[in-house]
Symmetry: D2
Subunit: 160 residues, 4 copies
């Protein structure tokens, strides 16, 4: 796991509905913080078994600090199963407390807008965004705790 | 974990639709086998994390033997989320290969019929049915592998 | 995991010292019980990480029942490290409560006597002995809880 | 888990014998690197099950980088069991590849010298030493991967 060599601005989040927030959330609102963006699907086994619990654990650890965990429900398959009402039940049952946006679909395209903008290969994917809003790491699949922690820690140590 | 002191006939399965079977399945079809009945909900965390993977592991171990694993999707909450189409996506994504019945709902009752007949307290629940079709164990919550294995083994050793 | 096709009498335990017992233990003392014999070395990683904790878990589950867990410290390498005093510290630190015999060495042979009599390939090894003192299963390496449980349960169900 | 508020120089390592090194190692040799010092005992269950495997995993991840994992065998109990020859067998069997020093004993004191200098409460303990040789974190007990990773990452990001 290495940081990206070129740090480009993180694309905006195109979200049709937010859960666990008081209102819509945008990346510029989080400027000055390190953002851990967790792209997942509620029926993706590697998300449910590994990556989403990892993010909830991270959330419990960093809440109120300079790190913000943000979930993104990027449904690109089984659209009839992973509806907003189903996601809300999933979030409730798993007691997820970090903000979660539902990635917006354009009519007729299976892959939602933010997923396309970031070029995610699938779920789970994770993006680390630095205090200046730049993408510094993007990974597909579950990232081990130790390696993910080292990356997050090194971004936290940077001054804004 | 102890066997039930009184062995009563296992109530019939009231199922509205079967997955992973060629047609409807009934307990009498399994006479002579030890049946492990796994009552679950696809959005119940202890099912998804523990009990359902345990059943798939058991299925891989006993397939073609005298032990039959049967799933029962007993939806008693979040009905709009845990629909048949969502269950099919869940089964596909988690590569579950054992037969799964959808517990039938009477109009107007949140708790489905088989769940009521067995008196399940929630999900996951597991029932062990002996070769003669009698309930010999019923447990609520995840059962450890070692203890569940001992119970199954002792029922397998009984002659029909 | 299948039972052995031929059930032969379990060889006697050749033990130089017993831990966690009031005195020497012999297999005939356990006639009528199902014996789970756990051959291990205190510095064997698969023993320490998997098989020995499994046996302590089994011991907690079956204590006072018709199943007896018996450990056998079969040192065949690193003899200067895995001494009786080291084993006692290991047993104390890991709070092992089942009886443990130290497999006896003949002068000049690295492999101890009971290990040779059973023909263990290494550690961990497990042997299941039925109520009549016959070997019914022998396995090298860690055995999964579910499969081991099924074997134990089926032996428990046999009448002595 | 928080960094120490006051960064004091890390006490020197008082070591009677080094394993996995070409010769004696001293903290000044590692100046410019972040040092993760792992104090353990080979028969301490939380070390063997959690902390030592974590350090080997960290070693595999950071080898050749700006992070150095250093083990310290701080024997303060069961001295007759945890001898150098036993430690060497333990290191061999568990394929530990990071440098490990044996904490030196003064005649007549159960607690070895480096352990006393650092004031470890027991094992496992971990100390993080920054690029300038200053102690920045000290913790007793197993530290979760995610939290430990964040601390290491933030020290890596500091310039020497």
């Amino acid at each position: 796991m290495r940081m990206l060599e070129t740090a480009t601005p993180a694309p905006p989040l195109e979200v049709s509905e937010w859960l666990n927030t008081k209102g819509p959330l945008a990346l510029p609102d989080l400027a000055g913080k390190v953002v851990v963006l967790h792209a997942f699907q509620m029926l993706c086994p590697a998300c449910v078994q590994l990556a989403t619990p990892q993010m909830q654990k991270l959330q419990a650890m960093v809440e109120g600090s300079e790190v913000a965990v943000v979930g993104l429900h990027t449904v690109f398959e089984h659209h009839a199963a992973m509806t907003p009402v189903a996601l809300k039940a999933f979030v409730h049952e798993n007691r997820l407390s970090f903000p979660i946006g539902i990635d917006r679909h354009d009519d007729g395209d299976a892959i939602p807008l933010t997923m396309r903008a970031y070029g995610f290969e699938g779920t789970p994917s994770v993006v680390l965004i630095d205090r200046q809003g730049r993408m510094r790491f993007q990974g597909f699949g579950h990232q081990p705790d130790l390696a993910l922690g080292v990356l997050i820690g090194s971004l936290v140590a940077e001054t804004a």
